[in-house]
Every structure is written in structure tokens, then in C-alpha cells.
Amino acid sequence: MDIFLQQVINGLTLGSVYAVVALGYTMVYGIIQLINFAHGEVVMIGAMVAFSVITTLAAAGLPPLALVLLGVACAMVVCMLVGYGVERLAYRPLRGAPRLAPLITAIGVSIILQHVAMLVWTRNVIAFPQIIKIELYTFGGATITNVQLAIVVLCVVIMAGLAGLVYRTRLGAAMRATAQNSKVAGLMGIDVNRVIAATFVIGAALGAVAGVMVGTYYGIAQYTMGSILGLKAFAAAVLGGIGNIPGAMVGGVLLGVVEALGAGYIGDLTDLCRYGWLASLLDERCAQGGHFILFGSNYQDVFAFVVLILVLVFRPSGLLGERVGDRA
């Protein structure tokens, strides 16, 4: 039972990160139906910038919390600039082009960002400085660290803040209008280009926060970390219903939990020695409590893709999404 609870807690933490990254995908997709492929790289750059800021300022003897906040702030500023630049240079000129065109530029942009990051931060895995003292809280046989708790709480705060922004402010109303019909929104006096740019910038800022979360949670960062994280977050966005902001939250958390539980239990579940008739076929391997594990936890990364494929095949609009037309 405590293993189950522990995996759920780990999954919730990871899922919160996915959710925050997924917001970036889902907001952009909701407004211009573009998969912003480069979003994962923005998250990576957020983590890297925060790393640089924190390591350079750590010597100044600032309190840990101030350090982290400074790191996050700098990461957000840099990522917002990157997000704006990418939208301006790579996506805006292609508005109205065939669908695949911006997708291909997005791939190009993510390659460029990745390798620029490699030039700046080297190709090595860099260790995030341990500035926050890890504290463990135990309950019900499972433990949760203060970092995990902070990530989950921060995720909820971000969701609430974003919901407020989208449903309570003028900008939010403009975003929703643009998402529904950008032409008509333009006729109503909304500067569509500015709204789209704002969406990219907000998404990038969230990406920066997520990058810092991943960095502090795993304690490491590398220039390649963005692509797989981005893919999983995209899977989360699709799972929740792409274009749907609460959906990103649900999808992210769900994917995180599925992944954690999957990685925790797949080894046991596919241990053929547990199944009587198969065990008799594999006598020598199973004798004396041996194992014949088909799939171990090293298949963890597969779950996100399997979930993605299953959702797209059986419920393409996601859990909370509205029905979308299937016209490309």
C-alpha cells in the first residue's frame, strides 16, 4: 500500500510539471491550432537560465528562497523573450500557410534552440545546486519532500492564476475571442497579432517555471531535456483535450500518475513467473524465486506515447475537449 501511495505522490509531482508545460502547448493550440514544437526547448532554456543565475549568485550569500525566486524571474524573462522571438520570426510569417509549414519551422526552431543551448551550457549533464534543504514529511507510510509539495502547490496556484487571467481579464476575453474566430475578433477591434504574441509569451513564462521545477526536482539539467519532456507534456495536453486549459491540468496529473504507477508495477505485472502455467514453461528461470520480467521500469518513457496513441485513436478530442473537426 505504501508503495502505491508513494508512486501516486511521485506521479502527482511529475504530473504537476507536465501540466504546467502542457498549458503552454494547449494555450497556443487553442488560439492558432499550432503545435508549438519548440515549447519543450523553451522549458529547457528556463531550467538552464535558472541554473546559471542560481550558481553565480549562490556565492553572494543570499537566502535560498530569494535565490530561487531570482532564478525563476530571470528564467521567465529570458523565456518570454525567446517565446516572443520565435512567434515573431518563425510562426507569424507563416500564418495562413498550409498546416505542415509552421510545424516544420517549429522543428527547425527547436533544433536551433537546442544547439544554441548546447553551445552556451555545454553538452554535459549539469547538476542543479542543492540550495533548498530537503525536508521529508511522512504520512501513511509514504514520504513527500518539501520540493514536491512546493511543486504541487505552485502548479495549483498557476492554474488558478491562469484561469483568472483567461476568464476575468480583458486580455483573456480577447484570447478567447481570437480562439473562437480570429477574423471576427479582428473586426471587433482586437489586435489579433498582439493577442497571439501574448499567448506565446505567457506560455513561455509558464515553461520557464516548469523548467525550474524539473531542474530542482531531478537535480540535473541537460540541453536535450526539453524534447522528451515537451513530448510528454504534449501527450498530457492531448489527453486532457488540447486547447482546453483545465484539460491540460487533468491530463498532466493523470499522465504523471499513470507513468509513475506504470513504472512501479509493470515489472511485477509482466513477471511471467507469477503466472502458473507460464512459470512451468520457464522452469529453470523461475526456480528459487527467479524472475522472468518482460518489461521493466526502463520502459517508463513508453507509457506517455502509448497513452497518446490510445487517446488519439479512441477519443481524439481528449477527456475534457470539445469535439474537433478532423479536417486538416
Binding site: 499550432l34 503545435i35 520570426l89 518563425a90 510569417p93 507563416l94 495562413g96 500557410a97 498550409p98 498546416r99 505542415l100 509549414a101 509552421p102 510545424l103 516544420i104 519551422t105 522543428i107 527547425g108 526552431v109 527547436s110 533544433i111 536551433i112 537546442q114 544547439h115 544554441v116 548546447m118 553551445l119 524534447s227 522528451i228 513530448l231 504534449f234 501527450a235 492531448v238 528461470r285 524472475h291 522472468f292 520480467i293 518482460l294 518489461f295 521493466g296 526502463n298 520502459y299 518513457d301 513508453v302 506517455a304 506515447f305 502509448v306 497518446l308 496513441i309 488519439l312 485513436v313 481524439p316 478532423d326 479536417r327 486538416a328
Partner: protein
């Protein structure tokens, strides 16, 4: 497309052109060999990329389905060859037996991927194929336990070279006073393959199937209304592209004599997509140009950028691989921005893009 094959009017001139190109292609490896056998190898890998790009062109260019996991089929073909012709399982089947098996297995994987996903919209499909590519790589990396099938990250080594009868393509031979090194012989084999595949591609493009692909690409609903079984025709594109990828993979394994999952990472898929897009989706000659450009330019960079940096800064500041990737990225962005139909656009694509922007 058509004028290149149109022999009406001036047949003699056309044949002269063909003869010159053929002679140049036959003589090329000897010219390259004088600069070093490495360059013949570079040419071989370039041809492999041409094979891959032509295969992907069927899926992306003809049928308009963006496949970002294409390298998975290359991997399947390579692993089939490696497992059936290496000491890993102690099997040493001849190349001509494995080739169809590899092609069939890769084609099967194409159907496996295509069947559930083909009703998805273009960009969703791209993501799912990307995920599929990663899944295949993860499996190759991990299928060493509990039963060792792929030998995991260590890869499969000592793969048999291709033998045609008594002829071992990896060894050096001297005929008529000319030395034919291993890579040189592979060059001719690859050239023969690429010619066959070019012919198949041209015939496909102008066939009923090719026109159906084009119709699906332009407007799927209209194509269905015209009586095209869109699911089947898309599946066919996937399977056919995958088959070509599998064949290329088999050749890769034989030439390389060692493969590991490292060779089949996401970047490779994207590179092949870049070749197709840069050259001109849907235009066979454009795709070939794209593949050759993107395989030779990095090598040329390697030979120029490094000495240049040493001369200018006294040390190597930026590795050629990084420059190569930055150029890929920039090329993708700039081509889409300024020449969305590629360097040598296909006539249909060009028309289509002009209409959309107008």
C-alpha cells in the same frame, strides 16, 4: 517531372545527356577515391540518405502525411539484417534472402503504425509517428532482457557483409588493372538500388495510386467523394515508405557491419524530413538534391570549418556537428519562410501554395 522523361522531339540529345550522367556516376567513386576512401564512404551514406528520403517522400511528399518517426523503419530493416546475418544468433543468411524479409517486416511495422493512426489530422499524425519512433528505439534499447534479442545499447557487431555469389563486397579486388575497394563496390550496388527505386518512384507517381495519393493530399474529403478508399491508400503510402526504409536499413547494417540504437535517434528522422522538405516535397529530383546537399554539406563543413577556426582563433570554438545542426534548423525555418515548396518544387505543390496565399 515530365520534360525530363519526354524523349519526343530530340531523342538523341536526351540519350546523350543520360550517357554523360551515367558515365559521371560510374566514374565518380574513382575521382572520390583519389581524395581518400573516406569520401567514397561519404558518398555511400549520401546514397543511403537518398534512398531514405525517397521512401519518406512517398509518405510526406506524395500522400502529404508528415511522418516524424520514419527512422524506426530504417531501424527495423537494419536490425532484421543484423540479427539474421551475424554471430549474435549464429545465423548467416544471404543478403538476397534477408532483403525481402527486412522489407516485409518494415512494411508490416508501417501498417502497424498506420492502421490506428491514419484517421488523425496532419499535425496529430506527426506527433504520433514521432512517439512511435521513440517507442521503437526504447524497445531496441531494452530488448536485451529477459531474452537477449537486440543486445540492448551495445548493439549488434560483426554483421556479415553483402556477398553476391563468390563476390564479397567488403573486400578489395583488382579487375582490369583497377582496384575496387570495399566501399567502391558498395557504391555501385547502392547506385543500382537507387536507380531502381527512382524508377519505381517515377512510375508510382504517375500511376493510379500516385494520383490517388495526390488527391488525398490536396483534399481528403473530395478524394473520398471521388471514390478513393482514403484509408487504404494512405496505409499503402505508409507501408511502401516503410518498405523502402527497411531496405535502406538492411544495406546500412551490411555496410556499417555494426549497429546500435544510437543510430536511430529522433534527430535522424528529422534529418530525413529536412532533406525532403528542403529539396521539395513531392518532387523526386528535389528530394534527391536535398538528400545529397544535407549529406555532403556537413562533410565539407568538417573539412573547411575546423581549419578555418584554427586559423582564425587558434582553437576550435564550435564543433562541425553543431554547425551542421544549426544549419539544418535554419534551413528548415528559412525554406518554409521563403521557399515553402523547397529548392526544386514539384509543380503541383507550387501551384497549391500559390493558390493558398492568393
Amino acid at each position: 517531372m515530365r520534360p525530363l522523361l519526354d524523349t519526343r522531339g530530340k531523342p538523341a540529345l536526351v540519350w546523350l545527356g543520360v550517357a554523360i550522367v551515367a558515365l559521371a556516376l560510374l566514374a565518380l567513386p574513382f575521382a572520390l577515391a583519389t581524395a581518400g576512401t573516406t569520401w567514397v564512404r561519404v558518398a555511400n551514406y549520401a546514397i543511403l540518405y537518398v534512398l531514405l528520403a525517397l521512401g519518406l517522400n512517398i509518405v510526406v511528399g506524395f500522400a502529404g502525411l508528415l511522418d516524424l518517426g520514419y527512422i524506426a523503419f530504417y531501424a527495423v530493416g537494419a536490425y532484421v539484417y543484423a540479427l539474421l546475418a551475424s554471430p549474435h544468433f549464429g545465423l548467416h543468411l544471404p543478403f538476397w534472402v534477408i532483403l525481402p524479409i527486412g522489407a516485409a517486416v518494415a512494411g508490416f511495422f508501417g501498417v502497424l503504425l498506420g492502421a490506428p493512426t491514419l484517421k488523425l489530422r496532419g499535425d496529430y499524425l506527426a506527433i504520433v509517428t514521432l512517439g512511435f519512433g521513440e517507442i521503437v528505439r526504447i524497445f531496441l534499447n531494452n530488448l536485451s532482457r529477459p531474452v537477449n534479442i537486440t543486445n540492448g545499447p551495445q548493439g549488434v557487431a560483426q554483421i556479415d557483409p553483402i556477398r553476391i555469389g563468390p563476390l564479397d563486397l567488403s573486400r578489395s579486388d583488382t579487375w582490369l588493372g583497377l582496384t575496387f575497394s570495399g566501399p567502391l563496390k558498395y557504391y555501385y550496388l547502392l547506385l543500382a538500388f537507387v536507380l531502381v527505386i527512382i524508377v519505381i518512384n517515377i512510375r508510382l507517381q504517375n500511376s493510379r495510386i500516385g494520383r490517388a495519393w495526390e488527391a488525398v493530399r490536396e483534399d481528403e474529403i473530395a478524394a473520398r467523394a471521388m471514390g478513393i478508399d482514403t484509408t487504404r491508400i494512405k496505409l499503402l503510402a505508409f507501408a511502401m515508405g516503410a518498405t523502402f526504409g527497411g531496405v535502406a536499413g538492411g544495406m546500412f547494417a551490411a555496410i556499417q557491419s555494426f549497429i546500435s540504437p544510437e543510430s536511430f535517434v529522433l534527430v535522424e528522422s528529422i534529418m530525413v524530413v529536412a532533406m525532403v522538405v528542403l529539396g521539395g516535397m513531392g518532387n523526386i529530383w528535389g528530394v534527391i538534391l536535398g538528400a545529397l546537399l544535407l549529406s555532403f554539406v556537413p562533410e565539407i563543413l568538417r573539412w573547411t570549418v575546423e581549419p578555418m577556426q584554427h586559423a582564425m582563433f587558434g582553437e576550435q570554438l564550435v564543433a562541425p556537428e553543431v554547425i551542421r545542426m544549426l544549419i539544418f534548423g535554419l534551413a528548415l525555418v528559412l525554406v518554409m519562410r521563403f521557399r515553402p515548396a523547397g529548392l526544386l518544387p514539384s509543380a503541383v505543390r507550387q501551384r497549391e501554395l500559390a493558390e493558398r496565399s492568393g
